[in-house]
Amino acid sequence: MIEMIKVGRTYDPDITALSDISFSVETGEMFFLIGRSGAGKTTLLKLICNMETPSNGLIEVAGYNINKLKGKDLAHLRQRIGVAYQDFKLLNDRTVAENIAISMEVSYKKPRAIKNRVRELLDQLQLVDKHDTLTGELSRGEQQRVALARAVANSPRLILVDEPTGNLDASTTKQVMELLTRSNKAGATIVIATHDESIYQQSNHRIMELSNGRISSLTRGGKA
């Protein structure tokens, strides 16, 4: 699903965020990206979804060189990638339901299907009572779950999640991980950037650690 070969990203005036990154993520895999703050996890996710372009190297997603895609082709690929951003990117003057629906609206899903899917996700994340609440009025933890719901709503082939449990308690973290696991079992490839050890230590998934913008280790979880 994801191929990265010798990818680097530098910012002006000469700050290296990522350097010499090469790895692959198989279709249907759940993949963890770990590392300390500033290690390059978020930059890596941004490169995968083409929010940023690499300074060098090749990135292929679902067989496409994502940096060469433009217009409709890029839009269609993005419809198949769900991203839960670290800063959530929620529209604070819109309701929770409207925020989640947005990713399905751009793929022209039927209104009834959108409505049902939104209810289903809110139910799974225990946010049913927040259906008509403006996201600007939610707590950080609730906003985080809404961002995650939006990322998975359109049943994308690839889900990128940046710090999904940063603002959550143990029980909500469990709900979030259950939701991601369900999507993964349904066939979605999932990449999770986190430094919450509790969500990857007991898994059998691959874990890639970044340190100062480089891959420092690529291992399997403790359960493997």
Binding site: K72, L77, R78, K89, L91, D93, S103, E105, V106, Y108
Partner: protein, 295 residues
């Protein structure tokens, strides 16, 4: 859900969120159309009136002596050498006397002591419809005045001249007001769309990230411009029609309006104004999209 449903819903959201600036733009467009159409309506009616008046236009060439048959032929040839004309009538002194007596009606007695040849003979020239421009008529009258045996040429010079300058002034007013109002309306629409784009950067960025196509993002802004043009022109023209009806009903009867037979725009002109307004507002919207919507 199809593309148009999604786009129209997005347009509805945009309009709801920025309704105050949208309303101001709508008012500006309506007012621009109203002012422009008002001047244009007066202009078209004046042109119509000028056409009707020119139907009665004839040049009277007063002659020093009554021309004989041969002279009439020569004069006719000379006149048609300049340009073809609708009609040429030679009016003898006796005919002129009879006409004058007829015009005087019951007062024709005043002519009793006058000789029947005291009025000059003349030629009545009805120019072609294509030769009804002020400068052409002037040129033609100068030519006729230069013909041998001509005393003077009359065609209501003062009236024609005044009317000509008035319609010319009106043309300038229509052109100027049209240009200014077109620029105002286009600029206002462009500015409103720009404000909408600026105010919704976060949403536009998100739409892009979740896979919205360029047309999904751009079309609602174009539709906004289109709606501004459509609604603005309809309201502007409706207001003008109301004004026209009010003036017609309050100033009906023998007066200036009846003299000019004021008419409202025919459907083709109404459709053209609406279409023009739609095109200009869409253009305003399009320029803002091109300039400020980075997708």
């Amino acid at each position: 859900m199809n593309f148009w449903f999604a786009v129209l819903r997005q347009t509805g959201r945009n309009l709801r969120q920025t309704w105050t600036s949208q309303f101001m733009t709508f008012l500006t467009v309506s007012l621009s159309v109203l002012i422009f159409a008002f001047f244009y309506l007066i202009y078209t009616n004046m042109i119509g009136a000028a056409d009707r008046l020119s139907d009665d236009l004839r040049l009277i060439v007063y002659l020093e002596d009554e021309p004989g048959v041969e002279m009439q032929k020569q004069l006719r040839r000379k006149i048609t050498n300049f340009d073809d004309v609708e009609e040429i009538h030679f009016i003898s002194k006796a005919e002129a006397y009879e006409r004058f007596a007829k015009q005087l009606g019951n007062d024709s007695d005043v002519l009793a002591d006058m000789p029947k040849d005291f009025l000059p003979a003349s030629i009545e020239v009805v120019p072609l419809k294509s030769l009804r421009g002020y400068s052409q008529i002037k040129l033609f009258s100068e030519y006729l005045a230069s013909l041998p045996g001509t005393e003077k040429v009359q065609y209501g010079q003062e009236w024609v001249e005044r009317f000509y300058y008035f319609t010319r002034l009106l043309t300038i007013v229509v052109l100027l007001s049209g240009t200014l109002l077109i620029l105002t309306a286009t600029f206002m629409v462009a500015y409103t769309i720009r404000l909408t784009i600026m105010g919704r950067q976060a949403e536009l960025e998100l739409l892009k990230l979740v896979g919205a196509t360029n047309s999904y993002i751009r079309t609602p802004f174009l539709i906004e411009g289109l709606l501004q043009g459509l609604m603005g022109s309809i309201i502007g023209l409706s207001a003008l029609y109301g004004l026209f009806q009010w003036i017609s009903s309050h100033f009906a009867g023998p007066g200036l309006l009846n003299l000019f037979h004021f008419n409202f725009f025919p459907p083709v002109v109404i459709a053209s104004i609406i279409l023009g307004s739609i095109c200009l507002c869409s253009l305003g919207s399009y320029t803002s999209i091109r300039k400020f919507l980075r997708i």
